[in-house]
Symmetry: C2
Subunit: 216 residues, 2 copies
């Protein structure tokens, strides 16, 4: 998908920040208090000049001949990404995938927390799954009325995804992590990040297969 820049920062730069962050956290854990741009870039599979260019959108980091102080750069990227802030979010679609996300270990450490889950299956209403209460999706707007919740994770079946996404937007959600295998069509101010498993798998498989001439 072609994505727009955000405040002059290229989308691809934004996509790389979490990778830099993860690499810095690993380096710090391994006791590397200092890291060079070529080391950090190498771990992230980018060039050192790409790394320096990405960081230049946010300030001046590191010193010629010294590299970066790992902890300082990590803290800076955390601030850039807003990891120091709490981000409540909701899950919509409590199937197998949705349930696995409720207990996904990588979210909480980055400030993300599920506060509600929604589904259309009455058997789930009132349940607590991993400490998250499940409500009727038809109560979505009402449940979110008093909450400032920007982010929804959408794991409903493909057929329900567009209409559910519209409900989310009506309830004030501005960002959707979409796992349903369709392209959502929403107002342009709504940010959608797609996670399409089968697209990733097709991209992977393409790179493995011997090329065959394509004829019509």
């Amino acid at each position: 998908m072609s994505k727009n820049n955000v405040d002059g920062i290229p989308y691809r730069t934004i996509k790389r920040l979490p990778q830099y962050r993860a690499a810095l956290a690993d380096a710090l854990e391994a006791g590397h208090t200092r890291i060079s741009s070529s080391q950090l870039a190498g771990v992230c599979n980018v060039t050192a000049s790409q790394l320096r260019q990405d960081l230049s959108y946010f300030g001046s980091f590191g010193q010629q001949g010294y590299g970066y102080d790992t902890e300082v750069l990590l803290t800076s990227i955390d601030r850039i990404l807003g990891i120091d802030q709490n981000s409540p979010m909701i899950l919509v679609g409590v199937g197998r995938l949705g349930r696995s996300l409720l207990s996904y270990p990588g979210f909480a450490g980055k400030g993300f927390q599920f506060v509600y889950a929604f589904d259309s299956n009455p058997e789930l209403f009132g349940m607590q799954l991993d400490g998250v209460p499940v409500y009727d999706v038809s109560e979505l707007e009402q449940r979110l009325a008093d909450q400032a919740i920007d982010i929804a994770v959408l794991t409903v079946p493909k057929e329900a995804a567009q209409s559910t996404a519209e409900l989310l937007v009506a309830a004030g959600v501005r960002g959707i992590m979409n796992f349903a295998p369709i392209q959502l069509h929403l107002p342009s101010y709504v940010v959608v990040e797609n996670v399409h498993f089968s697209h990733s798998l097709l991209t992977l498989a393409f790179q493995l297969k011997p090329r065959r001439p394509v004829t019509l």
Copy 2:
């Protein structure tokens, strides 16, 4: 991650093919036997010229003033992506996420099929989950010895991911769809597609937050 071209085809073009495919399948299902490049591009959030350039790597498609025959283009992209071929694959890591992928509805229709699952938990050995037998991960090389299996889906915990990925490569796997939140370091001929949920969420959240000046 910066990715290399494949046979002169940009990685970003390859990434977009599954999106074009999905949009064409939807159009065909909705009865649109013909589609213009601007219609198809619009659904996929790219420009018409980007779409035409992407397709130009694979041949000559469509006619000026007519557009594309939806079914012909869909069939062509299916052949380009190898969807007409069977792609057996294995799952390594039968936790909640892994189990949800075993029954993920989007894989089978694209030729992908799990043939084995592996885990280190003895309680799972010998079980059949969604028709897929679960074996001891230490038997990986032996179980794959007689099989031409190129693709593994890796859903083990972060700490086990690098060593398990090395086992996979030793067993002949050449492509890994990696859900563990680390950057794998493997021989350059191995293709890795990362699916990092928390990176997607951080990218999403960044685009929603008001920009704050970053100071060190």
